[in-house]
Amino acid sequence: MKLVLNEQQLDLTIRRLSHQILENHPDLKETVIIGMQPRGVYLSDRIVRNLSDMSGKPTVLYGKLDITFYRDDFRNELHIPNQTDIPFSIENKTVILIDDVLYTGRTVRAAMDALLDYGRPARVALCVLIDRRFSRQLPIQPDYTGRSIDSIITQKVKVLWSENEGRDEVVLLDE
């Protein structure tokens, strides 16, 4: 097991990501944040909190997206879907998709398919906490990256959140 980010580093990284998003989208009017269920939502919750604190705008358009029905591998491992909650139109908005780990890119592919069923966004950007580079199976790259790491296929990245696991930490596990 290798520690990738400790609590303090994780907090700093999330703050940096929030600043970068705000830098590119100073008025959050035409920008929506979409967290990916289930594990991306912990990250998007914090980013949205940061964004409204830093911008002084309490209302950031924020939704959650579940991609279970769009997976290309759902029959190998069936999941009970999580809630999708996008209570606004994404038509002509800039969507920032947020997930914890980017690995093969297949989840993001599914998320983009799911997103397009809600309308036609002007632009879709991707923000991830951990980018497992050189392991992509599809041509997908993040626009905002917390930390890029090199890992091999047998390893697993685990992002722990205090809301769920009792502590904030990112670790690389050898299986």
Partner: protein, 316 residues
């Protein structure tokens, strides 16, 4: 994370966990149906035949819509106008259809046990859409889903099933399901339409006075008087049935609480349910129909998880 069964033949074969999984998944499909594009690609590689040996409006349309919303390919088969009238057997018909690479069968048949028979002889997954007087599992699931939405849960709730219990597959599936989920069930109606073994066999309360049943329950599921299944005279006339066992707004207003009214359709208006009761704000009949699509999507989606379809590398 899949269901414990390969087919959905009846609620009797499902576990409580299965039912919970189906209802939970249906909740998310209900959200899908509110979207601008009400379609997901989950069953893109699946072909489903809707095999209807008996008339149906709601169930057939609901299944077909559910399949289309899941992106499955569908074919519809109705017994009339097919080779069934030339004497082809059920098994031959189905095997011929399956040889054209069909993965799932949704079937309704007037003979109880027809889908169970088929399940023993064919590899495809079967969803029972009503067999004779045995079961109608997806109706019970959508009823449970609607009850949950209307009164906030199933556990400990009191449900009265009123009307023709003897000929009703909806009643049987509902009883199995509600009891597995911890709800209390009363069946009510004329003694001639309630088998004497109900109490003993299913551990349900039996009530011959409709008003008392309504007074007791939170939700009343009113069943259709099945005129096509009445070979002998079990009550003297529809008018008499309607006077003694029919539910109208006046009766509902005379109760001490507001009872939720359900009906699986089609309604014999003025017989088991009067128009003023069926169209009142206590009735969730149209919500039941709406929920039916989401529930059937959940069933098809979850059953497809157990299949190896032709597209997978292993093949069939």
């Amino acid at each position: 994370m899949q269901l414990s069964t390969k087919h959905l033949l009846g609620i009797r074969d499902l576990t409580k966990t299965d039912i919970e999984k189906i209802l939970q998944t249906a909740e998310q499909f209900k959200e899908v149906l509110q979207r601008p594009i009400k379609k997901v690609p989950s069953l893109r590689d699946v072909t489903i035949v809707n095999l209807f040996y008996e008339n149906s409006t709601r169930t057939r349309i609901s299944f077909e819509l559910a399949e289309k919303r899941l992106s499955a390919d569908t074919i519809n088969f109705t017994a009339s106008g097919s080779s069934v009238s030339k004497g082809e057997t059920l098994l031959d018909t189905v095997n011929n259809i399956l040889s054209m690479k069909v993965d799932m069968v949704v079937m309704r048949h007037s003979a109880s046990g027809a889908p169970h028979f088929l399940a023993k002889h064919i590899p495809a997954a079967i969803v029972n859409a009503g067999d004779g007087i045995n079961e109608h599992p997806t109706q019970a699931l959508l009823d449970a889903f609607s009850i949950k939405n209307a009164v906030g849960g199933l556990e400990g709730k009191k449900i009265a099933i009123i009307g023709d219990i003897m000929h009703s597959r909806v009643a049987l599936s509902n009883i199995y399901l509600l009891q597995k989920m911890g709800a209390e069930v009363t069946v009510a109606g004329p003694p001639t339409l309630i088998p004497t073994y109900m109490k003993e066999a299913f551990n349900v309360r039996v009530e011959y006075n409709v008003k008392k049943a309504l007074e007791w329950c939170d939700v009343a599921n009113v069943l259709r008087i099945q005129l096509e299944r009445q070979n002998q005279v079990l009550f003297s006339s529809l008018r008499e049935y309607s006077i003694a066992y029919g539910i109208n707004k006046k009766l509902l207003d005379s109760l001490s609480k507001k009872v939720v009214i359900m009906h699986p359709g089609p309604i014999n208006r003025g017989v088991e349910l009067s128009s003023d009761a069926a169209d009142s704000d206590q009735s969730i009949i149209l919500q039941q129909v709406e929920n039916g699509v989401a529930v059937r999507m959940a069933v098809l989606y979850l059953l497809s998880g157990r299949q190896q379809f032709s597209i997978t590398p292993e093949g069939k």
